[in-house]
């Protein structure tokens, strides 16, 4: 009985101490991380839509239960395309993706903003040969396949879950945009 009490006490004391340390560090770093992230995302938006002189937030939406924003890219007051941030549920993390879409609802380019997939495997999704597959695709073409030589998205071998996560995230976003900005009727 006495031993049990000692063990519990020893663990609880340690957990409380570790909790305090982690909370302190989190409280101090969270605002800095938030500001830095927002700045990076803004830069990423501008980079994906180099022609736009103004990118305005158009609203929020919820892919896979996460909050994400979408934007209208304007040039001289005229909308030239859309930017949408989306998530895909990967192997060990949510993959945050930013998609640049033209007025014709075809993908211009995608960018992986952040992810926590396995280094050496899952992080292959951030390599050009995978990402570039999305360029110029229309919403109907966003589908993951495991064979070569189609106009769909080809999965990376050994990285199926992460590949699928990106594809699903992009697909979800494109359907959302289609419902929002697609030709009515």
């Amino acid at each position: 009985m006495k031993d049990m009490f000692k063990i519990t006490l020893s663990l609880v004391a340690m957990f409380v101490a570790a909790g305090i340390i982690m909370t302190t560090v989190f409280a101090r770093t969270a605002p800095i991380i938030k500001v830095a992230k927002e700045r990076e995302e803004k830069e990423a938006r501008q980079k994906l839509m180099p022609d736009a002189d103004d990118i305005v937030e158009a609203g929020t939406w919820e892919p896979f239960g996460k909050h994400a924003k979408y934007f209208t890219a304007k040039k001289g007051g005229e909308a030239i395309g859309y930017l949408i941030s989306t998530y895909g549920k990967g192997y060990s993390s949510y993959i945050n993706i930013l998609i640049a879409v033209g007025k014709d609802l075809k993908i211009k380019e995608i960018k992986i903003l952040s992810h926590g997939e396995t280094p050496g495997l899952g992080d292959e999704i951030d390599k050009n040969y995978f990402r570039k597959q999305f360029d110029g695709k229309s919403p109907e073409q966003i589908e993951l396949v495991k064979i070569e030589g189609t106009d769909k998205i080809q999965a990376i071998s050994g990285v199926t879950i992460s590949s699928r996560a990106v594809t699903n995230g992009v697909k979800e976003a494109m359907e959302f945009l289609k419902g929002k900005y697609g030709v009515s009727g």
Binding site: S10, I33, G116, G120
Partner: protein, 210 residues
Amino acid sequence: MSNTASYWHLFRNGIFGENPVFRLALSLCPAVAVTSGLKNGFLMGIAVLFVQTMANVTTSLIRKFIHPKVRIPSYMFIIATWVTVTDLAMAAFARDVYAQMGLYIKLIVAFAIILSRSELFASKNKVIPSFFDGLGMGMGFLLALVIIGFFRELLGKGSLWGHPVVDTKPLLIMILPAGGFFAMGILMGFFNWVDIKFFGGTGAGGAGGH
């Protein structure tokens, strides 16, 4: 033996005598996974070096308060705390480095080598020797990853740190997992050969063992 000499022995022990990858054969999974390039290996090694040293020091500091029956969860908690702190601090103050290393840091929680040094060394020794043991083991791991990464990237991609150096068709197998085991096995054999040939098979002259 003076103190300075024994600290040096501890440090050298981690690098050669009980090199985590080549001699203790611990944490081989991450060692194969991240060494497809020199840069990956180096960044992972730095992250491990830091967490290993800090975890060793912390474990040693509170070793008298850790109840023996729950020591493993306690070590895990110390490691997890340091990994979280490192992760957050880096995300806030070193964004560029974090973009490169963020993925590796979180993996360290489950590294066998860090847990094993907590159990085998830091829980039985004073703070300063534990610090040097952590430093040595971390350096040993870093060096091992750099050496493996060097050969794998050179042979598998013909480049070093992402820059092309030789202009021939590379041996693709070297950057695949199988190549990782080839490189590791051959280097392990080389280390053993050096040990037997020059140090009489005692692990760098019987450095600071236990």
